[in-house]
């Protein structure tokens, strides 16, 4: 993990920057032990299924900036995620009572000739047309495997057009093949923002950056009471708003897997303190996070009052839920830090976590502070988790494990996973809004949804009766980690 360097056009991928891995089988405590001792090794899979790539994750952060336009320098298939993000954008507009607006996303439609003669001219033409049609405050250019391999000088084109059009035209390097960890795309997006959009602070503000996706507003009430205002970034912000995030009083991350780079960059480059604590899921995590927030904002006294109030309101109800959930077993699949947070939350509710398939593992975040290590916090607070698998969406492993473990409940955080539980007759829950389970109240919210899911058995029972699993009988009888091996030290790939 090096210092943030905003003079470089690209940010180094997570494998090299943080030593992140995508393959591990063992227990959570073993993984934490390896991470902390520097002995973390990655495992590759000799059989794999399709994953996600950086370009999608970069796009999801940049494409909902209200007055920016997107240019994806790629063959048209890479634009397959345009509409999905446009849909998310529009759902968010409804929730925020914004007028309906379509996402302005352009694809350069690279073809065979371009792979021979280069696609720079096409990129230039596309940026100009996007500017004419949209008159945006900024244009972001995301790259692709094709543009990367043919070696188009995207940075030169964007620099030239920045001068010509008089708005920031910013390249975001997020070629899919460059990283096995698709969350590297978040870092690419944030790097573009920090190096080309954010301006040096002129004055300190009472605003607090909240690096998030597009969740519900759970922070305003807390921050307003402390005399601060919540500034949700990056989706649904404006370019002008992003220019000033350097002036914020602090940065909150709802999930360090998402915000590790931006949080650290704002602190290192502009001195905006980042809240370095476990994220606020589960009682202990929320206590620690609240106290750190109070410390950074200089509101220790007020925070203690809020903690006491909220706990007094939540704890009796929590005890009721715990009684109802006693003995329930669960298997979880989720992205990295949010997965760690959900484990904490489930354990707090008294649910037995029988295992987890977590998409990747960052042994350290860009701030370098062990206080932010949510998995370590979870293991220390609630004990070890068996069957802890670092697994980048490999559904065949998941189907095999679920069939073996047969939990009462499966929780998935990402699409494409839930039906493996349901097809096996296991009630399965997916909650899209990360903020739903945040803080003390989040425990109750989540508990209620779990009870509802456990009670809703008819659908999955019938589905399981009529489902055909595409995996061979042979595979379902093998060790789930049969194809995981060939240890590669993270330094060498």
């Amino acid at each position: 993990m090096g210092k943030v360097n905003i003079n470089s056009a690209e940010v180094t991928v997570r494998e090299l920057r943080l030593g992140s891995i995508t393959g591990f089988a063992g227990t959570a405590a073993e993984l934490v032990g390896c991470s902390n001792s520097g002995g973390l090794k990655d495992s590759s899979r000799s059989f794999s299924q399709c994953m996600g790539c950086s370009s999608g994750n970069a796009f999801c952060q940049l494409s909902m900036i209200q007055d920016a336009a997107m240019v994806n320098h790629a063959p048209v298939g890479c634009a397959g995620d345009f509409f999905g993000y446009n849909f998310v954008y529009r759902v968010g507009q409804m929730e925020r009572e914004l007028p309906p607006v379509i996402g302005r996303y352009f694809n350069t439609n690279l073809d065979e000739m371009d792979t021979v003669f280069g696609g720079s001219r096409k990129l230039e033409a596309t940026i100009k047309l996007a500017y004419e049609r949209v008159k945006p405050a900024a244009i972001f250019v995301t790259t692709s495997c094709a543009s990367g391999i043919i070696g188009d000088d995207v940075e030169a084109v964007t620099n030239k057009l920045t001068a010509e059009l008089g708005i920031p035209v910013v390249s975001c390097f997020c070629e899919g093949f460059k990283s096995k960890i698709w969350t590297s795309g978040f870092d690419s997006a944030y790097h573009s923002i920090v190096r080309k959009i954010v301006k040096p602070p002129e004055q300190k503000s009472n605003r607090v950056n909240i690096i998030n996706f597009w969740g519900s507003d759970v922070f305003s009430r807390l921050l307003n009471r402390l005399g601060y205002e919540a500034d949700y970034i990056v989706p649904f912000s404006t370019v002008a708003q992003l220019e000033r995030i350097s002036e914020a009083a602090a940065t909150i991350q709802i999930c360090p897997t998402l915000g590790t780079y931006l949080g650290a960059a704002l602190e290192q480059v502009y001195g905006v303190p980042e809240i370095k604590a476990p994220v606020a899921y589960g009682l202990a995590g929320t206590d620690a996070w609240m106290r750190e927030l109070g410390r950074v904002l200089g509101r220790e006294q007020e925070i203690e009052e809020i903690i006491a109030e909220e706990k007094a309101a939540v704890l009796p109800k929590l005890a009721e839920y715990k009684a109802k959930l006693a003995g329930v077993t669960c298997y979880l699949t989720a992205g990295s830090a949010h997965g760690h947070a959900l484990i904490a939350l489930l354990r707090e509710l008294g649910i037995e976590v029988q295992g987890a398939a977590i998409f990747h593992h960052d042994p350290v975040y860009d701030n370098g502070d062990p206080a932010s290590d949510m998995l370590e916090h979870t293991v220390k607070t609630y004990g070890d988790v068996p069957n802890y698998n670092v697994c980048n969406k490999q559904a065949y492993e998941l189907a095999n494990i679920l069939n073996r473990v047969q939990p009462d409940l499966m929780i998935a955080r990402h699409g494409g996973m839930t039906h493996w539980g349901a097809k096996l007759g296991i009630p399965t829950l997916l909650i899209g809004d990360e903020h739903f389970s945040w803080g003390y109240q989040g425990l109750l919210n989540y508990a209620e949804r779990i009870l509802e899911t456990l009670d809703n058995r008819e659908f999955v029972t019938n589905l399981a009766k009529h489902s055909i699993i595409p995996y061979t009988k042979w595979w379902m009888e093998q060790d789930p980690y049969t194809f995981l091996g060939g240890h590669v030290h993270v330094q060498t790939y």
């Binding site: 059989f47 299924q49 397959g80 096409k122 692709s144």
Partner: protein, 439 residues
């Protein structure tokens, strides 16, 4: 040179993974970067099917495969796919990474084929074409690398036809359309290989492809290359109906022409058609008063922003059977190859006996929307487009029926617009949207 695209309505060559997963018990093995399959599935798919979505085996090409080549990784994933995925046929599809660095995927595949494995390959690097074009490439690969090797039956089976009618998932209504077309062709005495979807027997149908009496293409242009291939290889003649037959007039024309082409029993075919027409027009007649009398406003002019097959088929039906007039300019969004454009323009020129419309071939949806905004319709309009048209429709006070991908605002199971049943369904869907606008 291909042009830039705002609001894409089709995918790249690799998008054809969706055609592969549409074949029962067939699985793609994607040799591409890590995000391709997921993006394609997200854009075109509604549901994983048997082995699509998160099930798709993929090499997830990384820097190492770009620098050192990805053949080893591909072999390893193919080995795993045979062990882990329970399928009849495995189809290797390459992506940009593999096609640019030049992996010899043909050689890798041949090594498995030499061992008798049901494996074929197609080069589908995204930049090479789009999924309308590569759909024919996949059919060619399966025919040449699998059917020719494993087909045991010999000789023409009278009455057996292969139907090449839709690009699965790119056509959101492919299942329903195949269902209706199969029902109709069965009705005039044919046995139909639909090749894709739940109406298909799967790989046994593919193995009988060479034995068809003739082939039927129901499409403006995708599928034609396959019919030509089968004619060259097996001498199978083909009948081509160049748009989607919707409703009474065009479905009748289609079935009568097929009957003639295949020298089928005229009397029984005619009896079937008459019985279908009687039922179809009973509905039209029953609702004619609604169409004529509903005084609060019905769409009177339509815009198609669809692929050529749908654009022509819908235009003919809406004008000739529902009395909705075509806007001056219609749009075809499927990057129709130059050689087919003349015929499509001609169809629009003779959309009815007395009316014509101009057609423009534009892939850039943003440009189409700008053109429509610049020349707003005076009457209440019906947009036959995609999910991208939501705001445009609101601005124009128009009714929108999403027919093309992205189709996100509809959940489609076996809804189809082909044939008699499709024609009725289209009426229901259009006027359902229209009536729903009243408070």
């Amino acid at each position: 040179m291909s042009k830039l695209i705002e609001q894409p309505r089709y995918s790249c060559a690799l998008g054809v993974q969706q055609s592969v997963i549409a074949i029962p018990r067939t699985v793609p093995v994607v040799h591409a970067g890590p995000g391709c399959s997921t993006k394609i599935h997200g854009f075109l798919g509604q549901g994983e099917g048997y082995a699509g979505g998160s099930t798709i085996p993929c090499t997830n090409a990384s820097e190492a495969e770009i620098v050192f080549g990805g053949e080893g990784k591909l072999r390893s994933v193919i080995d795993g796919a045979f062990k882990v995925i329970d399928a009849d046929l495995y189809v290797v599809l390459t992506g940009c990474t593999s096609d640019i660095v030049g992996d010899d995927v043909g050689q890798v595949t041949r090594d498995y084929q030499d061992l008798g494995k049901p494996l074929v390959y197609v080069e589908t690097g995204g930049f090479k074409s789009n999924n309308y074009v590569s759909h024919d490439h996949v059919i060619k690969a399966i025919v040449e690398q699998y059917v020719d090797k494993f087909a045991e039956g010999r000789g023409v089976i009278p009455g057996l036809v292969n139907l090449l009618a839709t690009v699965p998932y790119q056509d959101p209504y492919w299942i329903g359309n195949l269902q209706e077309l199969k029902r109709l062709l069965t009705g005039i005495g044919l046995q139909v290989n639909v090749l894709f979807g739940p109406e298909s027997e799967g790989i046994s149908e593919w193995l009988s492809i060479p034995q068809a009496q003739f082939n039927i293409v129901v499409s403006a242009w995708p599928g034609l290359r396959s019919a030509e291939l089968l004619e060259r290889k097996y001498g199978t003649p083909y009948y081509h109906f160049p748009y989607l037959p919707v409703g009474g007039i065009e479905t009748g024309r289609f079935l009568r022409e097929v009957t003639g082409f295949g020298a089928l029993d005229q009397d029984s075919a005619e009896a079937f058609i008459r019985s279908e027409e009687r039922k179809f027009y009973a509905h039209i007649e029953r609702t004619a008063d609604f169409m004529l009398e509903f005084r609060y406003g019905l769409p009177r002019v339509f815009y198609t922003m669809l692929d050529a097959t749908y654009a022509v088929g819908f235009a003919k039906y809406l004008l000739n059977e529902l009395g909705i007039l075509p806007a001056e300019t219609q749009y075809v969004v499927d990057q129709t190859p130059e050689e087919y454009r003349g015929r499509i323009a001609d169809q629009f020129r003779h959309i009815s006996e007395r009316r014509s419309a101009a057609v423009e071939f534009v892939e850039d949806g943003g440009a189409i929307q700008e053109a429509i905004r610049a020349n707003k319709p005076k009457q209440r309009a019906l947009l036959l487009g995609s999910g991208w048209e939501r705001d445009l429709a609101r601005e124009l006070g128009a009714d929108l029926l999403p027919v093309s991908v992205p189709i996100t605002y509809r959940l489609i199971l076996n809804c189809g617009y082909a044939g008699y049943q499709g024609g009725l369904r289209l009426i229901e869907d259009i006027y359902d949207r229209v009536l729903d606008t009243y408070r």
